[in-house]
């Protein structure tokens, strides 16, 4: 018999999010008819603020579905990360010919890409044949003044490209508003995560992931509305008092369509209380300074994102340790996608640091298929038994 799994409640606001996909598709399609431009993004390093200040809309195009991986394999090598393959497959397949919840992939006027990992970088070159693709270059040694200057100049070029696409000027006033708006979203996410510090956490990891996967898909207003509703509901919920081992996930992003590993962890009786990931803390942890030159403030905030494509990346290790302590985790599940070299190699450093801090870690390297669900289940069982 599996461990007792408490299904406490279901949050109404999360039910509403289920229907948000269609709503959003209609919204963007109406806007586009009226001449508004929409761009597709893949990464946290692309500042939302600049896109919105230029009067465009944006939707994230990171793929989490397994169905489109094989389509991509007609063009791309098999041994690259499934996120890249799934995304590429969804886009070249033009709205995934009928695969549900996929139509947004064909609804962008431009892709805003970034030079992060090798797989994405080279994929973007191919993608440009299907959708005009603008690439923001990133200095990958982030801690020098030269890197800052260069990144700032790249963001300025990006701002100009957005102005050209939309025909609107990115004014200081508009940037200021958008920075304030994005900071507000970040504060709401902090508030939600604050609630998860309670023991037991009043909300499951799968539930939080559902909203985080839509963070860069929904319009900022809609997202904030959902977050406020959810926070209100969670605040007034009495969690059932079963102690479950508190787990933090750390590693690769989990785009919409991919919930395999957190679903296994929570069905086995673990409680995910934090995610050090791009569908987690990396997306909202740091604020943009509102009392500074706006472009500079954006550059400073975004260059600090602790992604494994940066070197050195000690701030990620420090951040993981800090989160593990703040959220009082019993163990860390280090989650990587197959062939994601950055996060896979960085695992060693994370493991050493966690070992030193006395925090157990389980490493899971996987893809989007279901072929290893049993094997992962066994490891998760053993890990939870080990830490409880």
């Amino acid at each position: 018999m599996p461990m007792p799994v408490g299904k406490m409640h279901s949050f109404k606001s999360l039910e509403n999010i289920k229907n948000s996909y269609i709503e959003r598709i209609h919204q963007v399609s109406d806007e586009r008819k009226k001449g508004k431009k929409s761009v597709g993004t893949f990464c946290l390093f692309v500042p939302d603020e600049i896109i919105f200040a230029a009067g465009a809309d944006r939707m994230i195009l990171c793929g989490g579905k397994n169905d489109t991986v094989s389509i991509a394999e007609q063009y791309l090598p098999r041994n690259i990360c499934p996120l890249v393959k799934s995304s590429f497959g969804s886009i070249v397949n033009d709205g995934c010919s009928g695969i549900k919840s996929c139509s947004h992939f064909s609804m962008v006027d431009m892709i805003v890409a970034e030079n992060t990992c090798d797989s994405k970088k080279k994929m973007y070159e191919l993608l440009d044949n299907y959708v005009p693709t603008y690439v923001i270059d990133l200095p990958q040694r982030p801690d020098t003044p030269e890197a800052m200057r260069y990144f700032l100049s790249e963001l300025e070029k990006f701002r100009d490209a957005m102005e050209q696409l939309t025909g609107n000027k990115v004014t200081d006033e508009r940037l200021k508003e958008e920075i304030r708006s994005s900071n507000e979203t970040r504060k709401l996410l902090h508030k939600l995560y604050e609630l998860r510090k309670r023991d037991p956490s009043p909300i499951s990891g799968i539930e939080v992931l559902k909203i985080l996967q839509k963070q860069y898909f929904l319009s900022p207003d809609k997202l904030k509305e959902y977050l406020r509703e959810l926070i209100n509901e969670v605040e007034s919920t009495e969690p059932e008092q079963v102690h479950k081992p508190r787990i933090m996930i750390s590693g690769c992003p989990m785009p919409g369509g991919n919930t395999k590993v957190p679903a296994i962890i929570e069905s086995k009786g673990g409680a995910i209380v934090a995610e050090e990931s791009c569908t987690g803390t990396r997306s909202f942890w740091d604020m943009v300074d509102e009392n500074k030159d706006h472009m500079l403030a954006l550059a400073e905030r975004y260059i600090k994102i602790p992604c494994s494509c940066m070197s050195p990346n000690e701030r990620r290790i420090d951040n993981i340790l800090e989160l593990a302590r703040e959220f009082k985790v019993d163990g860390v599940v280090y989650y990587t996608l197959q062939f994601c070299h950055g996060y896979n190699i960085e695992k060693y450093k994370v493991q050493q640091a966690l070992k030193k801090a006395g925090i157990p870690m389980l490493s899971i390297e996987t893809d989007y298929s279901d072929s290893d669900v049993e094997q992962i289940g066994l490891r998760v069982d053993a890990f939870l038994e080990m830490i409880s």
Partner: protein, 253 residues
Amino acid sequence: MISVGIDAGSATTKAVLVKDDSSIVHSIHPTAFDFVSAAEKAYEDVLRVAGIERKDVDSVYSTGYGRNNINFANKAISEITAHAMGVYHFYSEVKGIIDIGGQDCKVIAVNDGKVTDFLMNDKCAAGTGKFLEYTARALEVPIEELGNLALASESPAGITSMCTVFAESEVISLRAKGFSKEDIAAGLVESIARRVAVMARQVGLKENVAFVGGVAKNTGIKAALEKELGISLHMVPEPQITGALGAALYGNS
């Protein structure tokens, strides 16, 4: 206190009955794709041999691949946790376990019977019984003889691939080049030992390491692994039942 542990493996189902920490009865049945009836049979067996009735059993814990299918069990635990406790019962100084089975390979660090760290091979057959099965077939020798054949070699052939499929074709090309079966067998055995030793070192196994699982019976592999790790490996008396025994002991505590 009477407790039973059931290890529902994909090939065989094992039951162990433990009474007041001492007398142990066990039974092994082929699983034959039916976890539940194999578990029933094994359970009935140990009850009969021990002369105990179902109603007098205080707890039944299941483990193994089919652990969640055993509906009469009070609780399911992972085979990693169960094996650690089972091996500890036979060998109380145990600090590490290397378990090479047909499908997977596990390396477990243990303290007082409790798991402190572990590693399992990923989606891949490298370093498992499957690797031996396929390559032994390419060599046209029964898998049980691979180890002894290897012991007879003076200069092992170099097998460079960890991948089962590539290693299989490597064996074929080595044979075509005229290498003896002994030397190729020794190369294969060294290759699997290297792979497993890497995992053992990652988990930090140094001493008091037990070797269990189906492949543990293979003397050639044991010798190669001992050479690779520079330690001698401890064998437990009933390696097949340590999972079920560990489950029973957990139910007992």
